[in-house]
Subunit: 220 residues, 2 copies
DNA sequence: TCCCCTTATCACCGTGTGGTGACATGCATA
DNA sequence: TATGCATGTCACCACACGGTGATAAGGGGA
């Protein structure tokens, strides 16, 4: 899987390669990389000290020394993921300011569909929010929520939803709907009667998102 | 937790109580009960041969003998859960036929909110759909999907959605949104900025569901 | 009565896990 | 050069898991 070692030394003699790099910062980075990679590829199940250490090519003792165990590693990973979300969301600027709140929400919702579909890490974060309530994980989901909120707030500018419309609740439901549908599509090929493998289904979903947003925000 | 034993024998002498009841059907029922109970209370994590056997007060060997291992147990549990969904959904008759497709979907959606909120087992089934792709679990989620579809179909009668509206996709998104929000509320007290512990939030969610349904189905 | 089949229990194996203590080794400083 | 500390490595523990083979105990039919 990993294949290339960090340095091209020839360990033919075996048992002679030790103290790999003696660079704590680099080692911590390797551990975090491995943790993120495992989370991305295998999800929260299979996430453990042994697995991370193995993937990082590092003794698990270092995880305890440098992060204070799994919980500490999760906290550190949380900060890293918060940053990741920032880059994913804020960087993706809404650019052209929209005409109305409804137009904007339509664009953001469709953008969210794209992100959720294309980013396994985003999917895993959403899943974690549902499955795990432990505080380190909670910190991660909180970071995600903050990034998401900042993204929407920044895009919104001074646009305001129509009077009498509970935008936060409605947006929460729309975001939830997109998240669930994407997540369900990962495992089952058929979700509530729709074929998630079929690209046409996703076109229908995008249209449905548009219809929902238009329906609530472009009310007569 | 369970408290009452199946028979009120007094095991004061210990090590003398053996061959508890010698009733295969009852034992199988106890195992299935325990499996369902564990699933309900602890979720798919912690679901294993040892845990089920322990909860059932039965040797795990019997799980292998009677169900052929965990997979077989899951299959049997799937049939039981399918039946459970039938009772939950079909029994809850929509009773009074509705005026329009939109009215009906509004009622069904709100009903789904109630069911999802009040039934831990329903929550776990939805979660399983997201986390596990193994075939026995897939069978369970398929059973759920079938029950849900039958429920909607039966309630629908001969009502039809307005022309030009992709009802399946829209309904899938709404069901997804409700599911995700309820699931997220189980673990985090704050979901996308809404306080799930606060009953007022749920009133807002119900209003939002109504607004969404009305928006798409009661188009001008 | 004896026998056999079903039901239930126990003891055990290999493996993986989270977690810890003791040891080796390199680098910088005194 | 010699000491101390940070970094990396190894061996080990207790435990829980999934899974299996052998063995006891009741019950019904001959």
């Amino acid at each position: 899987m990993e294949g290339n070692e960090s340095s091209p030394e020839a360990p033919n003699d075996a048992a002679l390669v030790k103290d790999r790099s003696r660079d704590r910062a680099a080692t911590e980075r390797r551990i975090l990389d491995a943790a993120q990679s495992i989370l991305t590829e295998q999800g929260s199940a299979g996430f453990g000290v042994n697995a991370v250490a193995r993937a990082a090519g590092v003794d698990k003792q270092l995880i305890y020394r440098y992060f204070g165990g799994l919980d500490g590693l999760l906290v550190a990973l949380g900060e890293r993921l918060a940053e990741w979300w920032q880059n994913k969301l804020l960087a993706d600027a809404p650019a052209t300011p929209q005409q109305s709140y409804g137009d904007l929400m339509e664009i953001l919702a469709l953008r969210l569909v794209q992100i959720m579909r294309s980013e396994p890490l985003a999917q895993q974060c959403a899943l974690w929010e549902l499955t795990d309530a432990s505080s380190p994980v909670a910190a991660i989901t909180a970071a995600r929520a903050r990034a998401l909120g900042a993204w929407m707030a920044r895009a919104r500018g001074d646009l305001r939803p129509p009077k009498g419309v509970d935008a936060p609740a409605i947006n929460a439901l729309i975001v939830s709907g997109i998240s669930y549908f994407v997540l369900a599509g990962r495992t089952s090929s058929s979700v509530i009667g729709l074929e998630t493998r079929d690209e046409a289904t996703w076109a229908r979903i995008e249209s449905a998102v548009r219809a929902l947003v238009k329906g609530v925000y472009h009310a007569p």
